[in-house]
């Protein structure tokens, strides 16, 4: 059992939790993920680590309420417990020592997943900038945290309420045109966003890494549910990733595989909402 020691509502669909899990907090590194199971009939869901504090023994997770499990998680409060919490899983990222300026591109809950990576690079003395995007200002989370570890943060929103009106790739194009110092890109977000970012950075010939978040079951290499194709080879995200060379990832396959259980996920959510009277807005 793992205690929720802090909960924060970041926007109508995204919540943050600090979980007490000393072993994981002690070993976690940027880029790694965890798998949680909320209760005894629950599924195992992977979440990228958003932050960690070895002193306090806590790991921060940020999740968007999209299906039954994440909605159920959202109803839990400080002082409640999660049944299972395992990690840190996956590899950490490696950035070339001589990178001049690193650009992080994040969208949705990819932003908190991107955060510990940029934070570490900033601490190591790299020049770091970020482009963050979302539907509207409200949906661009972790702004304060990101601004604290980046030399500059650019924004893009669908409705123009924050930064440029448009997609992160629109801002990315401007940055890559005007700032020739950027020589490394890290992108985390919806698969379609990472695909478009990688397409663009490839045109500019800038090495780009992505963090994949496929469906998983065990997360320890035993089942192969998380497989994707990288450079034509099958890779297990839980063992070989989650960080990969974005120019080699088959994003279309990754998107198709994310849909494998869509129908069942819908059934599960509908049943849950029937029994729980729909929306829980938490606190």
């Amino acid at each position: 059992m793992y205690k929720i020691v802090r909960k924060e509502v970041l926007n109508p669909v995204v919540k943050l939790m600090d979980i007490e899990v000393p072993r994981v907090a002690k070993s976690a590194k940027p880029g790694q993920f965890v798998i949680i199971r909320i209760y005894d009939k629950g599924e195992r869901i992977p979440l990228t680590i958003a932050d960690y504090d070895p002193e306090k023994g806590t790991v921060t997770i940020v999740f968007q309420e999209v299906g039954k499990s994440t909605k159920l998680l959202g109803t839990l409060n400080e002082g409640d417990y999660i049944l299972d919490f395992v990690g840190p899983l996956g590899n950490t990222m490696e950035v070339p020592k001589d990178a001049k300026k690193i650009l992080g591109v994040g969208g949705g809950v990819g932003i908190p997943a991107l955060y510990p990576k940029l934070k570490m690079l900033h601490q190591e003395g790299y020049k770091v900038e970020a482009i963050l995007g979302g539907r509207s200002e409200e949906y661009v989370i972790f702004k304060k945290e990101m601004e604290a570890v980046c030399d500059k943060v650019h924004y893009a929103t669908d409705d123009g309420t924050l930064g440029k009106k448009g997609f992160v790739t629109d801002v990315l194009k401007e940055v890559l045109e005007n700032d020739k110092e950027v020589d490394y890109v890290i992108t985390v977000g919806p698969v379609i966003m990472m695909k478009n970012v990688c397409k663009m950075t490839k045109e500019y010939n800038i090495p780009t890494i992505v963090s994949m978040n496929p469906l998983m079951v065990d997360g320890t290499g035993m089942c192969g549910a998380c497989r994707i194709e990288v450079g034509g080879e099958t890779k297990f995200v839980c063992m070989d990733g989650p960080i990969f060379d974005g120019h080699l990832v088959n994003f279309d396959l990754a998107m198709t595989r994310l849909n494998m259980f869509k129908k069942q996920e819908k059934v599960s959510l509908e049943l849950y909402e029937q029994h729980h009277g729909g929306d829980h807005h938490g606190r």
């Binding site: 072993r23 320890t220 198709t256 595989r257 494998m260 129908k263 069942q264 599960s268």
Partner: protein, 463 residues
């Protein structure tokens, strides 16, 4: 009296059981067990014991059954076998103890496995516990992996008085017993009962710890005071056939398919949250026990009408236990022998639609001693399927070797350990599938037992 026929064991009717996950074999009654036990001629030099990887004192426990001393029989078995209710169900007895039975010369061997199961179930039902009160040794041993090897090693070390902690990566102990072998062959309450006994013996358990990631072996030894470590982390990553379409939606490794069903209870979706998707027609590729488990599990899922096992050799070469194959046939599983998939075809939106298969013939024996399957040119044909499950074995996980100082591995990736389990790193022992590659529950248990002995010796001699 020995010539009498073997007492048959009742089973669920194939027509019924093919649509439920309840146990297929129903076990002996007391009278049936006594009748079967009475067939044993009590050889003065029993050959059956030599066939058992954990050397169960077979004639002695069988004799106790004939005298209706079931509790005594249990104690005899338990003195060398820590998981009898499991072994009585899933051991390949026909390859081991029963193969060596002298009655083979005149008829069927004694049903040793069924008798073991009877005794173990009797003990579970009647809450018979072994009384072990070992003198506490103040030495900590870490067991990495709560599967058959680890649980056995832990059990033996606890009985010797060691302070044992089992580290398990998943949320539940049992390894293959929990996530791999289906409920209808090994009910999970049996596995849970055996685990409860270990806890009563004093086993500490930390689930959700992936050694190599959450903590390393070096940290356990240097920072947490573990003086010896047993690595029983299992067989590793599932192998997938390298054919076009292998990553289409609807293609599973047997490990994923079985883990969803057994560990996550996807067959009870939506009561349980983990889903599983299967179409009307399922193909299982492979010929081992895992393939049989996957095929029979698939058949039991809602909406499945036809399950076909596709195997590149013929029935005779199948590595699965004869009993599993028979059960599968009784339940209506189809077999496509001498056939090898060459391509999985998908729909426009990325789902399995059909599978192209090529006919094989058997040539000269290969390194495994089995005749090598060879493609017959021009013999391709297509089978319509919606779901494909690949049960082709595993390849080692390098997480432990790559994160532990001084552990040497074989070329193929398995951890190098001698017959006692000793690895190249002092204080670290290993056994089971992590050392041998995928094998059986009982061999893993045998290795766990050996290692417990070696760990005891190591810690006694260590200053």
């Amino acid at each position: 009296m020995a010539v009498k026929d073997r007492v048959p064991m009742k089973e669920q009717d194939p027509k019924e059981r093919r649509k439920n996950f309840n146990e297929v074999a129903l076990g002996y009654t007391e009278e049936e067990a006594i009748a079967e036990a009475s067939r044993c001629i009590q050889c003065p030099k029993p050959t059956c014991v030599a066939g058992c990887p954990v050397h169960v004192r077979i004639p002695e426990f069988i004799k106790a059954i004939t005298k209706r001393e079931f509790e005594e029989a249990y104690k005899i078995i338990k003195s060398t076998n820590s998981l009898p209710a499991v072994c009585g169900r899933v051991c390949p007895q026909e390859e081991q103890c029963e193969k060596n039975c002298v009655l083979n010369k005149i008829g069927k061997p004694i049903a040793i496995g069924r008798l073991e199961r009877f005794v173990a179930d009797y003990a579970l039902q009647n809450n018979i516990e072994e009384e072990v009160k070992p003198e506490k040794k103040n030495k900590k041993v870490a067991i990495i992996g709560g599967g058959a090897a680890g649980l056995t090693c832990a059990g033996d070390l606890l009985k010797m008085g060691y302070d044992v902690t089992i580290f398990e990566a998943l949320h539940a102990l049992g390894g293959v017993l929990t996530y791999g072998i289906p409920e209808f062959r090994l009910p999970k309450r049996i596995v849970e009962a055996e685990i409860e006994r270990l806890k009563k013996l004093g086993a500490k358990v930390e689930t959700n710890v992936v050694v190599g990631r959450t903590v390393t072996i070096d940290q356990l030894m240097e920072e947490e005071g573990f003086e010896a470590v047993f690595v029983g982390t299992g067989a590793g990553l599932p192998k997938l056939m390298d054919i076009p379409g292998k990553n289409l939606n609807g293609v599973y490794s047997a490990n994923e398919f079985l883990t969803r069903i057994n560990l996550m209870k996807a067959y009870k979706f939506p009561e349980y949250d983990t889903p599983i998707v299967v179409g009307k027609r399922v193909a299982v590729i492979g010929g081992g026990n895992v393939a049989m488990d996957a095929a029979r599990s698939a058949l039991r899922l809602d909406g499945v009408e036809e399950v076909t096992v596709v195997y590149r050799r013929s029935k005779e070469e199948m590595p699965a236990r004869a009993e599993e194959i028979e059960h599968a046939i009784e339940e209506g599983i189809k077999f496509e022998f001498l056939a090898n998939p060459i391509r999985i075809n998908g729909t426009e939106d990325g789902w399995v639609k059909s599978m192209d298969v090529i006919r094989m013939e058997l040539g000269e024996p290969d390194s495994s001693g089995r005749r090598r399957p060879i493609e017959i040119p021009g013999s391709e044909f297509t089978i319509e399927v919606d779901t494909v499950i690949m049960a082709l074995g595993t390849s080692p996980n390098n997480l432990i070797p790559s994160t532990t100082k001084d552990i040497e591995i074989q070329k193929w990736g398995g951890i190098i350990a001698d017959e006692t389990g000793k690895t190249s790193k002092p204080g670290v022992f290993a056994g089971g599938d992590a050392v041998t590659g995928a094998a059986t529950v009982i061999l893993a248990m045998g290795a766990g037992k050996q290692a417990a002995k070696a760990i005891d010796e190591y810690l006694r001699n260590k200053k």
